[in-house]
């Protein structure tokens, strides 16, 4: 590479000119030598240097280089460029030092590379190959430990492989700020450990595996699963929450083996970090409830396993003879699938389409009409306010951005009804009474005054329930000139809204027997708000055609089951909560008899004799972009690897005020939370089995006493829309006067406490007697 000299950049006034290995380099002031050299293709070996972990610490000494005029060698990771600096990264002195550091690192490093998961994709191997000694002079026995140590149920620690680079420690201390990891012992006996000796548990622990430059920290689900030369890596997007973290999927022979952060992160979104659910949610692909077999219901009512072809034919026959067909699109569906569902509905007799999710309302429209920001913009903000939601559980990666904000002494203000992890780091935090976010909005307004680059983050699910607060917040944001970030409630609700898929639920038509066939696309209306109404309505439908990845309640009534692919197995576009359209790329084949929902929808259109004119997701997306202003100008190609923001099309004046919406029913106002390891993904993935949390009712000690309930009891929670039994957890962190419902997986029935519009409800509580 060094021979292929790119043309030297023209000198700019704000750039520093220096010489590295005889080549002229221009760099911004403050750039460290490692980066300046990388700009022109000169690699300086590193281990501990990782700018995402904060300032350099210069511990590993791998990047020693000679700077003329400076005494001794300098660490290139911590030495900033200076005018006319002359640097040698590969002369004899620097090379000897680099070779020396590697020889010393390898002295105590076991050479068990043939059985090490990192072997073949190991920076220590690579650096040794490029910069290290050809042979070892170390003849003494190396250090041994009983191996391996389970740092948690998902991370294994092989202590003897550790080269003490501090990356995992710095992640724990300085990025996730969980304060758990530390070194114990010292010198050559130094080991990674937790302060307390307890397992390292949290929401972001898996990142230390990506950070580890050797095989000391490995993923237990990936342990001994594959060799790097047998795998294929594919950049894709996490489909387990609406944040849209960019991921890298590892497959071996068509089966997904691993999900990691991207080596080239998307700094607008996840910055290379992943939450543990996103990292270890992929085994949901072979959950017990995975739909892998196409089925058709016989005339006698029994289900028969058939080929996918036969199942599609059966479905097409049903649609062809049906007078009216409703297609219900779930919030996991991709943009293409939503668009195709609408396309199919427009060509079949009596066709209609709608999507699940939270309906628009004037409050949400007012907020969405305001200038928006991306997660990466938080790094440039001076004041950030968070209204409602529960970032740590529902949009975890956002928490790391907020921690970064407070580390650089930006101002954070948090309001909402739930206990918030970030409240302790906030300049101000207001615990608003359930259903009264407006109580906290003056605090936000006050904090935004005088802010130069403020951002307001708001939760879709919470503000949908409170139009008055939404309108007020929109006014505050507009007055302050802040930008807003929406925390969407569902994976691709932003994308389905962008293609203007109707939200009006067909439930009433279904209940009135006006719909003879229902096609569900990644949708289960029964295990969602309004589930009880849907449960009744489904009895009136002649046929249900279920396009699904996992067994759900609705599937039990289905006439035809068409197994679909999960996000990690298919192509398509998801639009993140901040409106960034990003491409899914298949990182795995999926079950043999399954097909992507987009493919099934196209096949159905052909079989019913009304072929839709597209053959690939790329063509479908192009057609969607042509007809929907939000996607104007976008295509699969233009999205590339990092995606593109969609255009904002909501244009509602945020000027008005809106009426407060009273919660339906009587009793305590309910606050809904889905814990990070309490949703479908966590309950389907064995990898996080030990971390799962169940659906539960949480009450403050005072409220539990008022209700005459005690911790551990099973309580029937009843709203006007549904009812479910939940175990009671008495939680001192909670205020009186509200029922906090941990939804758990949808099968628990807690979602059914809400109506289809996700509106606010009150619930009554009664002990379950057996």
């Amino acid at each position: 590479l060094a021979d292929e000299k790119p043309p030297e950049k023209p000198p700019a006034t704000d750039l520093v000119k220096l010489t590295i290995n005889g080549r002229t380099v221009y760099a911004k002031p403050g750039t460290v030598l490692v980066e300046a050299a990388a700009e022109v293709g000169i690699e300086i070996p590193i281990f501990c240097y990782e700018p995402r972990l904060g300032p350099p610490i210069g511990a590993c000494r791998m990047c020693l280089v000679e700077v003329e005029g400076m005494r001794g060698l300098q660490t290139a990771c911590s030495t900033p460029v200076a005018p006319d600096m002359v640097v040698h990264t590969n002369n004899e002195e620097a090379s000897t030092a680099q070779d020396g550091v590697l020889e010393l690192l390898l002295a105590n490093h076991p050479l068990d590379c043939p059985v090490c998961d990192k072997g073949g994709e190991c920076p220590l191997q690579d650096q040794t190959f490029k910069f290290g000694p050809g042979e070892t002079r170390f003849v003494e026995p190396k250090r041994h430990f009983p191996k391996p140590l389970d740092l948690s149920t998902v991370v294994a620690l092989d202590r003897e492989r550790c080269i003490t680079c501090f990356r995992c420690i710095r992640f724990s201390q300085d990025v996730a700020e969980d304060g758990q990891l530390t070194f114990q012992e010292r010198g050559a006996g130094t080991e990674v450990a937790t302060f307390t000796g307890d397992p390292y548990e949290g929401r972001f622990t898996g990142n230390i595996i990506d950070l580890c430059p050797v095989g000391a920290l490995t993923s237990i689900p990936y342990r001994f699963v594959s060799r790097p030369w047998d795998i294929e890596n594919t950049p894709s997007v996490c489909g387990h929450c609406p944040v849209g973290c960019n991921v890298e999927i590892t497959q071996r022979e068509g089966e997904i083996k691993r999900v990691t952060g991207r080596p080239q992160p998307n700094f607008k979104v996840e910055e290379g970090w992943l939450c543990d659910k996103g990292r270890w949610g992929f085994p949901a692909a072979w959950a017990r409830t995975r739909v892998a077999q196409p089925m058709v219901r016989n005339e006698d009512g029994t289900m028969e396993a058939v080929s996918l072809e036969e199942a599609v034919d059966a479905a097409a026959r049903i649609i062809s003879r049906s007078a009216s067909t409703a297609i219900l699109v779930g919030t996991d569906a991709t943009v293409e699938e939503g668009f195709l569902a609408a396309g199919l509905a427009s060509v079949i007799p009596g066709g209609r389409v709608s999507r699940m999710g939270i309906p628009e309302n004037p409050g949400l429209d007012a907020l969405r009409a305001l200038p928006s920001a991306e997660l990466g913009d938080i790094d440039g903000a001076d004041v950030v306010a968070v209204a409602g939601g529960d970032i740590s559980d529902q949009h975890p990666i956002v928490e790391l951005r907020l921690r970064k904000l407070t580390r650089r002494r930006g101002t954070l203000v948090v309001i909402g009804p739930r206990p918030q992890v970030m409240a302790s780091r906030a300049a101000e935090s207001v615990r608003t009474p359930a259903g009264q976010l407006s109580v906290g909005i003056p605090t936000i307004a006050k904090t935004l005054q005088g802010a130069e680059r403020p951002i307001v983050i708001w939760d879709e699910a919470d503000l949908a329930k409170e139009p008055d607060a939404a309108a007020e917040l929109a006014r505050v944001i507009a007055t302050s000139g802040a930008r807003q970030i929406e925390l969407a409630a569902h994976v691709n609700s932003t994308g389905l809204r962008a293609i203007e898929l109707p939200i009006e639920s067909p439930v009433d038509a279904v209940a009135a027997n006006a719909v003879s066939t229902l096609i569900t696309v990644h949708a289960d209306p029964v295990e969602a708000p309004g589930g009880a109404r849907w449960d009744d309505a489904l009895r009136e439908v002649n046929d249900i055609i279920a396009i699904a990845t996992h067994r759900t309640h609705a599937i039990t009534h289905a006439s035809v089951i068409l197994p679909a692919l999960m996000h990690q197995e298919q192509e398509g576009v998801l639009v993140s909560t901040t409106g960034r359209a990003q491409r899914l790329r298949p990182g795995s084949h999926g079950p043999e008899n399954a097909a992507a929902a987009w493919e099934l929808l196209i096949a159905l259109s052909h079989r019913v004799g009304k072929p839709l004119p597209w053959r690939t997701p790329s063509q479908v997306f192009a057609a969607a972009a042509e007809t929907h202003a939000a996607l104007d100008g976008l295509s699969h190609d233009s999205l590339g690897v990092l995606g593109q923001p969609i255009k904002r099309t909501t244009a509602t004046s945020p000027a008005g005020t809106l009426e407060r919406r009273e919660p339906a029913g009587k009793g305590l106002p309910a606050v809904f939370t889905t814990e990070i390891f309490g949703d479908n993904t966590a309950w389907r993935s064995d990898a996080v089995a030990a971390l799962r949390t169940q659906a539960a009712l949480r009450l403050s000690p005072g409220e539990a006493a008022t209700q005459g309930l005690t911790d551990g009891q099973h309580v029937r929670v009843t709203s006007p829309f549904g009812s479910c039994p939940l175990p009671l957890i008495v939680d001192e962190a909670l205020p009186d006067g509200a029922a906090f419902v941990m939804t758990g997986p949808p099968t628990a029935g807690a979602w059914g406490l809400m109506d289809i519009d996700h509106g606010p409800v009150r619930v009554t509580l009664a002990e379950v007697t057996t």
């Binding site: 300032p55 350099p56 610490i57 210069g58 511990a59 590993c60 000494r61 791998m62 020693l64 001794g72 060698l73 660490t75 911590s78 000897t96 030092a97 070779d99 020396g100 550091v101 020889e103 010393l104 690192l105 002295a107 105590n108 002079r137 170390f138 003494e140 080269i163 003490t164 501090f166 530390t182 070194f183 012992e185 010292r186 010198g187 050559a188 006996g189 130094t190």
Partner: protein, 432 residues
């Protein structure tokens, strides 16, 4: 030759100065009164600077210059930190100051605090110095009671508090940035420099950090003037220095000598009473265990910074370890390698792995499993470790062993061939 008990004022007084009354009777707190009532911080800084006093912890950096690096316009408070983590093998000079003359140290610290505008100062004391920490705390309490520490010192309106903080037993915490980490409650490991402590030290604030002996030297300098201090020693090594002498000598102990006016021979053979009968001088680590070992040919070197450097070693902390011809230089080197391996904090790869490797190689040689190429390999390893780390611990591990192999190569070669037999017991003559 002369002994001047400037820092060891208690020796002049002939008794421990552990009560305020005794210290005042011995001329204590005259200097602080002078500083607070007749001088302003700039005058004081000038006196420090002019005296040429060099840091007594080991590096020998001029104290006045170091103090002048503290930015005056920092929004953060300034701190003075006294380094009392005396852990260098063979060094116990600070222990005597703390134990028998604690008020002078406290007086010096308050003086430095006044000079750099620090209202809060800390004494970081070695964990093993439990008794000394008690003596020091009692002295500070008494001084505070009498208005020499705390708010409005001697009615001058100057506030300066002194707090004792005990380490937990780590050599590395004598390194100034590791000390600051430890003082902040973190794991004691050196920081990347720059920024230097003067700019961003304790809690990211400007910090003056000096050794016990350095700060205890300030009251006499202020009392009698920097010019008096300059009459002693040489231009680059003015003043007095405490030497701890230990090992194969008849009268081990601390001796405060005037720099340059005493030779190593005088220190060993006159002050320390010479060697045991019938023994010959073999080697000496003159400035603590981290300096290159020297042999008998250097006995006539005057004890000062420049002369010792010229002789191929360093004044270091002044912890002079003497070995006579009964000692085995290979085993001594192994013992030192063991110490540095044990005390390496583990942050920098070369030191963490290098000290471990060196000990293993030397152990092999001592056990009779050595190979001739081990000596070349050690010499090849030294430059790959030394100067490649954040702090000088690795250098301290290399210097004495590299010098030992150079100076006593025949002994190492003999050990490679035959192993190194256990030496005879160390102390056979009564210590006088």
């Amino acid at each position: 030759m002369p002994i001047v008990n400037s820092v060891y004022r208690h020796r002049e007084a002939g008794k421990p100065l552990v009560t305020l009354a005794d210290y005042e009777a011995a001329g204590g707190y005259v200097a602080l009164r002078k500083a607070l009532t007749q001088m302003d911080p700039d005058d004081l800084m000038y006196q420090f600077h002019r005296s040429g006093l060099r840091g007594r912890g080991g590096a020998g950096f001029p104290m006045g210059r170091k103090a002048s690096f503290l930015p005056k316009d920092s929004p953060n408070p300034a701190y003075v930190v006294c380094n009392g983590d005396e852990s260098e093998p063979g060094t116990f000079k600070d222990r005597e100051i703390i134990e028998f003359n604690p008020f002078q140290l406290v007086e010096g610290i308050v003086m430095a605090g006044f000079a750099v505008g620090s209202r809060q100062t800390y004494i970081y004391i070695r964990g093993e110095y439990e008794h000394q920490a008690r003596v020091l705390s009692a002295a500070i309490a008494e001084a505070r009671e009498a208005g020499y520490v705390g708010d409005d010192i001697m009615g001058s309106g100057v506030n300066c508090n002194v707090t004792v903080y005990r380490g937990a037993g780590a050599y590395i915490c004598g390194e100034e940035t590791a000390l600051l980490e430890s003082l902040e409650g973190k794991r004691g490991q050196p920081r990347l420099k720059p920024p230097f402590p003067a700019v961003a030290g304790l809690y990211g604030s400007p910090t003056l950090i000096n050794n016990v002996e350095t700060l205890a030297a300030l009251p006499p300098i202020v009392d009698r003037g920097a010019d008096w201090y300059l009459t002693m020693g040489t231009e680059k090594s003015p003043g007095t220095k405490c030497f701890s002498i230990s090992g194969h000598v008849v009268k081990p102990g601390n001796y405060e000598i005037v720099l340059n006016q005493t030779t190593l021979r005088e220190l060993v053979f006159e002050h320390a009473g010479g060697l045991r009968p019938g023994r010959e001088f073999k080697a000496c680590w003159v400035g603590g265990s981290s300096v290159p070992v020297i042999g008998a040919d250097k006995l006539d070197t005057p004890l000062d910074y420049e002369s010792l450097q010229e002789a191929g070693t360093a004044l270091g902390s002044g912890g002079c370890i003497v070995m006579d011809d009964s000692g085995c230089i290979v085993r001594a080197s192994l013992r030192l390698a063991h110490f540095y391996r044990h005390e390496s904090c583990g942050k920098c790869s070369p030191c963490r792995e290098g000290t471990m490797w060196m000990e293993k190689i030397l152990q092999r040689i001592v056990d009779g499993d050595g190979r001739m190429e081990d000596l070349q390999m050690l010499e090849n390893l030294f430059p790959r470790i030394s100067g490649k780390t954040l702090c000088p611990l690795a250098d301290g591990a290399i210097f004495p062993i590299r010098a030992a192999i150079n100076l006593f190569r025949d002994e190492f070669e003999r050990a490679v061939e035959h192993g190194s037999p256990r030496p005879e017991p160390m102390m056979e003559a009564a210590v006088g």
